[in-house]
Amino acid sequence: MKRRDFLKGVALTGAGIAMSGGVGLLSKAQAQGGKEDFGEVKSVKVHCISETSWFDNATLGADIKKAGGINTNQYDVAYTKENLGGFAALVEVEALDGKKTKYLLDTGWNNEWMDYVFAKDGIDKMLKNKDIKTLIISHDHIDHYFGLESTLRHQPDIRIFFPGTSMKKSFDLLKGADFSKTPGCPKNNVPHKGELIVTKTDKLYKLQEGAALVFFDAPATLQCRGENVMYCKVKNKGYVTITGCCHPGVVTLFNHSRRNFKDGDKNYGCYGGLHISVFENWDPKFDDLIQGVKALKMTKIACNHCTGWIWAEKAVQAGLPIVHGTSKNLSYKKTGTLAKSKTSNVYIGNGDDVFFG
């Protein structure tokens, strides 16, 4: 007998609610017994604008430790400014009729670095020309959001998808708040004037035919919560997830598509930080994750940022289809200490592209 079946007859609802703290609810789609169908796209191309959120793990770790550890509020940590970069990606979705739409996923951290990488890839011009009309903030963590001004400077009225669980200070930043008194914390001199879509759990936000956004109320470090995840369904291939940090967990994301989306068991690939061995620390649970991802039978795993080089390296050894990057990142004015060490190209690095189609 399955444990679940066993308990159905005897579980006390009150006990259950207390033990769970009231979380872990099924999605509405599943509860209704239906499966979402948000269409298909021809292809998706993701360009890594920057995945180096910081350049040296030990320096960031020391900053966080000094402030009180990983549970400290992110706005209360004094960061070493010269160590800061940012995460951002350009997602280009090609519709079935060939029309291409660009989305900016995240806006990085250090404005100086973000201005540099935006200029290097022409993102600044795309924003000015409104070739990019949508900014998706995956979550309001330091390295994905604090560089907001670098985007708004070029297009203050850009449409923004913003996680509903973001901190109050993060909402204030949109309006033009200044927290830069604390080193490495943000300021925004260009208040947002465009449409703001605050995402919530259990709702699918359709970006266009074949591409959608789902918000997961997942826990993260430095008192952050929640993450927007982009799903694209590539015709004849399957689902692709595009994440900033993937705090809900990559297996959870594909489990969500399996349970909630039409043809949800067709997993094609993923791009982004997978939030595993973030500081290159290791836990046996991460070995479990390799087994879990293997079972997903993806064709392309394009990872970087908070995935952890160790995990990606181990995943390659375990036979997972990790897409290798080039060495373009080494030509940038700054490179992470990890890239400088004797590591293999298991990351999609700064300036690299990955194509799903």
């Binding site: 399955k2 444990r3 679940r4 066993f6 308990l7 159905k8 579980a11 006990a15 259950g16 207390a18 033990m19 769970s20 703290g21 009231g22 979380v23 872990g24 099924l26 793990n57 030990a58 770790g61 020391a62 966080i64 430790k65 009180g68 550890g69 990983i70 549970n71 400290t72 997942a218 826990p219 470090t221 008192q223 919560r225 705090h247 809900p248 967990g249 297996v251 959870t252 489990n255 500081f279 290159e280 620390n281 290791w282 836990d283 046996p284 649970k285 070995d287 479990d288 994750l289 390799i290 087994q291 879990g292 079972a295 080089w309 160790i310 390296e313 181990k314 990890l338 060490s341 590591t343």
Partner: protein
């Protein structure tokens, strides 16, 4: 804890009585406990406090080792070197201060001194986060290594906890009746340490050997329980063994020692004690997993947060401790209110109150914990473990009970 079947030490021999009515005395103690909990948490543990020890694993390892040290002082060493006259005559506040200071000193000597500095610097790298940084390569930065070393210390405490409870309450002074303190305490401690280190090597060391890249397969076998537990994490062992410990405390605080007092003759009492605690512990562990499966669906390999097998195993310990805290408060502060009830009814009533109170406490913690304790929101947060706070509360409860004779609501009957 009433363990009169096995011990004749001070904690079993003394009698404490309410200073006022049971209700008023209990409420007074509850108030004092609450003040102490908030003060200690915000000064020593909270990320917004002064010492910021709740990282969370550093704080967790600290409270669990201090709990063990408190129990050893009381049950293994019977407050040695202090005489009965000291225990009987000195003001509870003074006694509390002295024994708490000894607890902290012993923690510093045993855990920080011997385990962290001596063993961690000259023997086992992973017990000292500075050694990990010094000798380690990629990923061995202090933010991570502090958690690794704390996890190792926490893991080491679990078999010590289980074997200590077996020896303290399953054997007591039956094993070395001819020895006086401190010889008896040291003899018992030697046996406890020997067995605990063996269990640690089997149930936890494989996990820690897998915490590095590459896996340290020449010093630790890869986690052998993977096929049974669906995870390589030793949270599986931690869950079962810790629930076994909790079952013993449940028995003494809720059921007047039942079923452990069924067998009195040694060595069968000890064997019975050990086997029953493991069976009860496994039942508590497994029952909770059933509930988690019902609430969240079945866990799957490689999942995060509440869908992860390892997290669920660890969460059984957290939830069991929510109930245990209420069970101890009920027994220590209001236990005498139940004396008129017949035995079975008393056990049932206390159990219902403890479970209902524990679940209510859990709900309150996860709802208001961020405001009251400055912890992060969420049940399955990767850097949050309510068990640290709960064991800290148990520490304070035991300090108040054992070291201070239940002051202020209770006093020693002379």
């Amino acid at each position: 804890m009433n363990n009169s079947n096995a011990n004749s030490n001070w904690s079993s021999a003394r009698e404490i009585v309410p200073r006022w009515s049971v209700g008023l005395s209990g409420l007074a103690n509850l108030m004092v406990l609450l003040i102490a909990v908030f003060a200690v948490w915000w000064v020593f543990f909270s990320a917004a406090g002064i010492f910021k020890l709740y990282t969370p694993l550093l704080g967790f390892s600290l409270v669990i080792w201090t709990l063990l040290i408190i129990l050893w002082q009381v049950e293994l060493f019977d407050f040695w070197p202090f005489r009965r006259s000291f225990l009987q005559d000195v003001h509870p506040l003074a006694k509390g201060a002295v024994f708490t200071a000894i607890t902290i000193a012993l923690y510093l000597i045993l855990v920080i001194g011997i385990v962290f500095y001596v063993i961690g610097q000259f023997g086992v790298t992973y017990f000292n986060w500075q050694s990990l940084v010094r000798y380690g390569e990629i990923g061995q930065d202090v933010l991570s290594t502090r958690e690794t070393a704390s996890w190792a210390m926490l893991s080491l405490s679990v078999p010590f906890f289980l074997i200590s409870t077996w020896f303290m309450f399953g054997i007591g002074d039956n094993l070395f009746p001819e020895l006086k303190q401190p010889k008896r305490g040291f003899a018992m401690f030697g046996l406890i340490a020997t067995i605990s280190i063996i269990l640690y090597a089997i149930f936890f060391h494989p996990h820690i050997g897998s915490m590095f890249y590459p896996k340290q397969i020449y010093v630790a076998v890869p986690p052998w329980w993977q096929g049974i537990a669906h995870t390589t994490s030793s949270e599986f062992s931690l869950g079962i063994l810790f629930c076994a410990v909790v079952s013993i405390f449940f028995a003494f605080h809720l059921w007047d020692g039942f079923p452990f007092n069924f067998v009195q003759k040694q060595p069968w009492r000890f064997v019975f004690f050990a086997v029953v605690s493991l069976v009860l512990g496994y039942m508590i562990f497994q029952l909770q997993l059933f509930v988690f499966d019902y609430l969240w669906g079945e866990a799957y390999i490689g999942a995060n947060n509440e869908m992860n097998f390892g997290w669920r195993y660890g969460h059984t310990v957290t939830m069991a401790n929510f109930v245990l805290v209420i069970a101890i408060i009920q027994n220590a502060f209001f236990g005498q209110a139940y004396t008129k009830l017949p035995g079975i009814l008393r056990g049932i009533a206390k159990t219902i109150v403890a479970i209902a109170g524990g679940l209510l406490f859990a709900w309150a913690y996860y709802s208001w914990g961020p405001t009251l304790f400055g912890v992060v929101k969420g049940v399955s947060h990767p850097s949050e473990n309510a068990a640290a706070l709960l064991i800290m509360i148990i520490n304070l409860l035991l300090i108040q009970d054992y070291f201070m004779d239940g002051w202020p609501g209770y006093k020693l009957k002379k």
